[in-house]
Amino acid sequence: MTTPLISVRNLHKWYSSVHALKGVNLDVPPGQVCGLVGDNGAGKSTLIKILAGVHRPDRGEIKVDGRLVEITSPKSAMKLGIETIYQDNSMVPTMSIARNLFIGREPLRFAIGGLGLIDHRRMREEAMSAISDVDLQVRSADALLSELSGGQRQGVAIARAMHFKSRVMILDEPTNHLSVKETAKVLAFVRRLPAQGITGILISHNLHHVFQSCVRIVAMARGEIVLDRLVEETNVEEVSDAL
């Protein structure tokens, strides 16, 4: 058996007195697209926020490629190749597409102590190629994000994750607020992740979305994993019952 790309062991997280994660174990092999489902408060957001570096676990260990890692910040998650696309809070509406693509990772002409001048030409060129790589049609890389539709914004978020060569893409309810057509495109994109050598974790409320785009389904309830099956071995009823 191949080494899991991401391996989580006995992960615990408390929010003051609330035990949000109660010893979660999860292995995701490379190239698998894994659907994570569960009700609000089931712990799925907590789990992915720990993987994305937004929260720190209180107990337990995380391995990437079999190597023990400490994910201390969003930046350290990105360095490990873990990119997260959130339903609504990964873009700054008042900034241009090009600037949004590179927030926190701007190409610099020079830098002293981490601060420096942005290489605008390179940023614009790379932004254009990142956008065309995901076949996103926009007026220009200088357009403000607030000009875009929800689907286009999600496209920019995906372009960003792809551009920075993510190995694991976590999509947190990426189809919320999207039209039916846009949702279909995002799900089609998720299905094609393995072909690009990317491992995916899709968080969704919608079981049908998960069944359409993932090969494996993991259900969480009350801070624990209650079901873990390949999609072909289960059905919507079984998963619904587990929740």
Partner: protein, 346 residues
């Protein structure tokens, strides 16, 4: 990536030809909100020039306007940077007095000029640090923190002078700020300092990664944090910068006037916010430019001066600034909403 993936809608919206010009104007406005201020500035300059029979653009009059601009301009730039970052500083008017008074007291006590100035800047930085630290640690609105600091700093300024304004020693090399320069002595040396600082601030805001982080932090703090921007440090830096700009500006004014009055800068905090807003800075954060801050500050100076030259009762000045501030914000929000509606309809 060999295989193109299609995660999104095939997006570019096509508009009817008739609406194109209007949409273009709205787009320019959304991308460069300070241009409305520039247009108003040109218009008012023309009006005042005609109403004053050519006195407005005379060398003497411009010298008056441009002599004061560096002082209010620097404060406005600092406040603008902080507002882009999503925070407020109401203590700038008090800081405007504390630094020059401290510098005067220190130099009178025998501290040389340059260390005295640097220590003054350190004091300003500490006040900015306190503003940021209290705001971010206790998670309270900076409006409240800095309102408190407005009173605290003003009180300190009066207390350390013992109620009597200190004298400014005549051997200080204040000429590096007050010297007249250029044809007809139209500028003061302070203008050069102002120009250099403004250019540096402009380059920082639009050209550096720190500027990108300031915009992102004010535009949507959660997204900025999720992208790995050190939002807390970015905000702290903006608080410190804003306070230092205000202290430095006040010191320049005191050198020009020759007397460190503990009462200078009263009401300046609100004028600086007005200048920022008139220059297109959004109260909600994320939007604003150095050019906008300067245009806003200049507009206030031009209106002040132009009303006098046009023989309008000087008491109308505050009325005009108030009306302009409200109109600027109303226009901004109306234009933004309209721009959004046009986009949705297309």
């Amino acid at each position: 990536m060999s295989q193109p993936v299609q995660p999104t809608v095939g997006g570019a919206v096509h508009s009817p030809r008739r609406g194109n010009a209007v949409r273009k104007l709205f787009r320019i406005y959304l991308e460069k909100p300070e241009l409305a201020g520039v247009a108003l500035l040109i218009l008012l300059t023309l009006v005042f020039e005609i109403r004053s029979n050519g006195v407005f653009l005379s060398t003497e009059n411009l010298r008056g306007i441009l002599g004061l601009l560096p002082e209010v301009g620097l404060v406005s730039i600092g406040v603008t940077v902080l507002m882009i970052c999503g925070e407020f500083d109401l203590s700038v008017g008090s800081m405007f007095a504390l630094m020059p008074v401290s510098v005067a007291l220190m130099t009178n006590a025998g501290v040389p000029f340059v260390p005295g100035m640097l220590l003054g800047l350190v004091i300003a930085a500490l006040v900015g640090f306190a503003n940021g630290f209290i705001t971010l640690t206790f998670n309270i609105p900076s409006f409240i923190t800095t309102l408190g600091m407005l009173f605290i700093v003003r009180s300190l300024t009066v207390v350390i002078t013992g109620g009597f304004p200190p004298l400014l020693s005549s051997d200080l090399p204040i000429g590096i700020f007050t010297q007249f320069l250029g044809p007809g002595g139209i500028l003061r040396a302070s203008f050069i300092w102002f120009a250099i600082i403004a250019l540096a601030a402009g380059a920082m805001l639009s050209g550096s990664n720190l500027g990108n982080w300031i915009h992102a932090t004010g535009g949507f703090v959660d997204a900025a944090a999720a992208m790995g921007v050190p939002v807390r440090r970015v905000k702290m830096a903006s608080f410190v910068l804003c306070s230092m700009m205000a202290g430095f500006a006040g010191t320049i004014q005191v050198f020009r006037l020759g007397a460190p009055l503990p009462s200078i800068g009263e009401g300046l905090e609100l004028q600086a916010v007005a200048a920022a807003v008139i220059g297109g800075t959004a109260l909600t954060g994320g939007v604003g430019t150095v050019l906008g801050a300067i245009v806003g500050a200049l507009l206030i100076r031009v209106i002040d001066n132009g009303l006098v030259l046009s023989r309008v009762d000087a008491n109308w000045f505050k009325f005009a600034i108030g009306a302009l501030t409200i109109s600027a914000v109303v226009a901004n929000s109306w234009l933004r909403q309209t721009a959004r509606r046009i986009k949705v309809e297309a």
